[in-house]
Symmetry: C2
Subunit: 439 residues, 2 copies
Amino acid sequence: MDLAHHLDKDDLEGLDGALSSLTAPQIAAHLLRLPRGQRAVAFRILPKDVALAVFEWFDSDSAAELLVGLREEHTRELFEGLDPDDRVRLVDELPAAVVIRLLRDLDPHERDMTEAVLGYPRESAGRRMTPEVASVSVDTTVAAALEHLRAVGAEAETIYMVPVLGPGRRLVGVVSLRGLLVASDSQRVGDIASSPIAVLAEADQEEAARLIRAHGMIGLPVVDREDRLVGVITVDDAMRILAEEEAEDAARSAGTFPVRRHYLSTPLVDRVKSRIVWLLVLIAAATLTVNVLDYFEETLSEVVALALFVPLLIGTGGNAGSQTVTTVVRALSTDEVRFADLWRILGRELLTGLGLGVVLGLVGFIPAWFVAGPGIAAVLAISLVAVCTLATTVGAAVPLIASRLGVDPAVVSAPFITTIVDATGLVVYFLVARAVLGI
Amino acid sequence: MDLAHHLDKDDLEGLDGALSSLTAPQIAAHLLRLPRGQRAVAFRILPKDVALAVFEWFDSDSAAELLVGLREEHTRELFEGLDPDDRVRLVDELPAAVVIRLLRDLDPHERDMTEAVLGYPRESAGRRMTPEVASVSVDTTVAAALEHLRAVGAEAETIYMVPVLGPGRRLVGVVSLRGLLVASDSQRVGDIASSPIAVLAEADQEEAARLIRAHGMIGLPVVDREDRLVGVITVDDAMRILAEEEAEDAARSAGTFPVRRHYLSTPLVDRVKSRIVWLLVLIAAATLTVNVLDYFEETLSEVVALALFVPLLIGTGGNAGSQTVTTVVRALSTDEVRFADLWRILGRELLTGLGLGVVLGLVGFIPAWFVAGPGIAAVLAISLVAVCTLATTVGAAVPLIASRLGVDPAVVSAPFITTIVDATGLVVYFLVARAVLGI
């Protein structure tokens, strides 16, 4: 199925046919692969309800771009049709002037809901929740609750997890639609509700998403500081949040800023910008290795063969360090470990590094002997043991300390550790060389 | 809350109190942090229903370990209480003799269901589905369907996504419980059902989980080759699958084998084993750099100062390469790009690398001049441009080619690219040096 093909030939009927056989996320994926100009053309010929469904699958940047490019009435229609939480994600990316106009044109109820969500900080649970919640009172009967859910079921984002409210809209429990269905009609909702797991509106969106995953929930009530229900985050939002956070972590671990756009539509300048900052930081850190080598230049010019193993040695140290960083960052992010486990973890990683270093040193000794003689082979083997132990220990310590200082451990990326290990590894190498070779 | 504290003092009442204030996943997390011996002690004093709920949150390795360590009747009870899909995950980790005994003791219905799931290959959708599905016939009325769901609601894993079946249990549609609730009682289910999105039982579990995420589904029907319904994968299973796959990808991207155990309970031997293989592969690949340096040893001994910038240069190339690999692997895994986009992507990455190299070369030139004079500074600057361009292009090509060859692109990890780029980068560096410095 090639949308671009139909567009090139101005074959709108063929295009229409091609689109009608696809689901909304599939159409969104296809549209995002098109050049921007063609995207708006293809979008405009979608039937209204399809257009809305497809639009919800756009990343926020591309959605904002498209919205600005459409005719005004089309823009307004689309904006009105969105759920409050999707609307808000978009607002963050649109020019302020456009936002003000669009909000003004909303009907008062929709505007109130949108503004309520907009009141919470970016990346907070409140920002990602939907305020359109179907809730029931603690004193209702099961029959009345079911009746109510049937009435509002078409509007609310979810009716499978139903918050149970006491006086003053305070959250006192939750009941699942399944629980209501299997209960007898005359029971009081309060008697079958379970105690609620909820999240503060100001909490981090990732915390909310992790709670949903950890407890296998369909929806998570969001409350204010007085325990009043303000909204719900649903499991599909949680999956999206986790996917976004995963993408961010993956980008950071490779030393780039996350780009939220579709790969094929990110302009060159953005591509370079997302990567250059970390490369500059890393190259600045790498000048340490220049200093170390400069300091040992005499040793080096006396035994030039030492230079042969520099990339291999620091490469191995870097790899061992990356392995540890990734493992520890992951254990931190899944709450398997915390800062209090520092010494236990350092002990474990030190032993692991020692184990790895001994194996690598033994394996590397004989080939190195053939290339550069027994002296340098011994220097290499000893250095491998030292560098691996150093790399795993540093690789464990830095993310743990970062987490303690309130810095996201994922920012302390593998490349960063690698560069630190490079410089110290070189010092170790030359000190070992001086000692073993007597220079 | 410190479980180990209560256990050390043999304070079972305090322990009981501490446990009762926690949710199942929280208790599981605490138990997994305990040494193995203590874990069984703490587990045994949990009330039966709590024990079962907690047990479902154990990783399969630890669950199997615990099960083998408990008394026989306790083991049997626990095994019987599990859902068929959880039971199967456990079976994969238990010794065969234990499995045979446990399956023999199950009641026939439970055993049949478990064996049905066990019939599908590991990591397939069929292996992760639950066969306990609440489904309705296409010709039922809405009222009858709701009545049926009320009756089976307590047993089935989900009743929010209801498969609609035609003759011969063939899947002809799905209807949501919400859809049933808001419809009028006399409507025919077939008239309100939507066409089903389903997955083959033999399909990869990750494919199923991605479908659920992409479409924001509560559950996904699993069918056999004749389109007959065999089970359902629910959204909470999808979240678990995605978390597992994410952990695997993160491990691979750092060149380690995934360890599915809790970090603090992985023995030293397993820690070393999960990391040593890739380190050996990488160190073998790194001997290329030794060869290159050996080949250019004469150039090097003539201008020892060239050695000063070797770690900085190859480090930068490696970092630029990692950034690209991570970006492209991600774009592949989210289906933003595919092999057919090869040339488009190579063009983009080549330009990006060129851009990055030019900035880094300009920034590095002056400091390098101070350290090593204008000649070597020029060599460095030119090499940075070449190495960055090379690194981004190779970093894009290798995962794309891997995906074409049916190899998981995540296996072509950043460290692997780094090592390739190291060797070729050194060749470039010395060739540039020879040309510029006339040696």
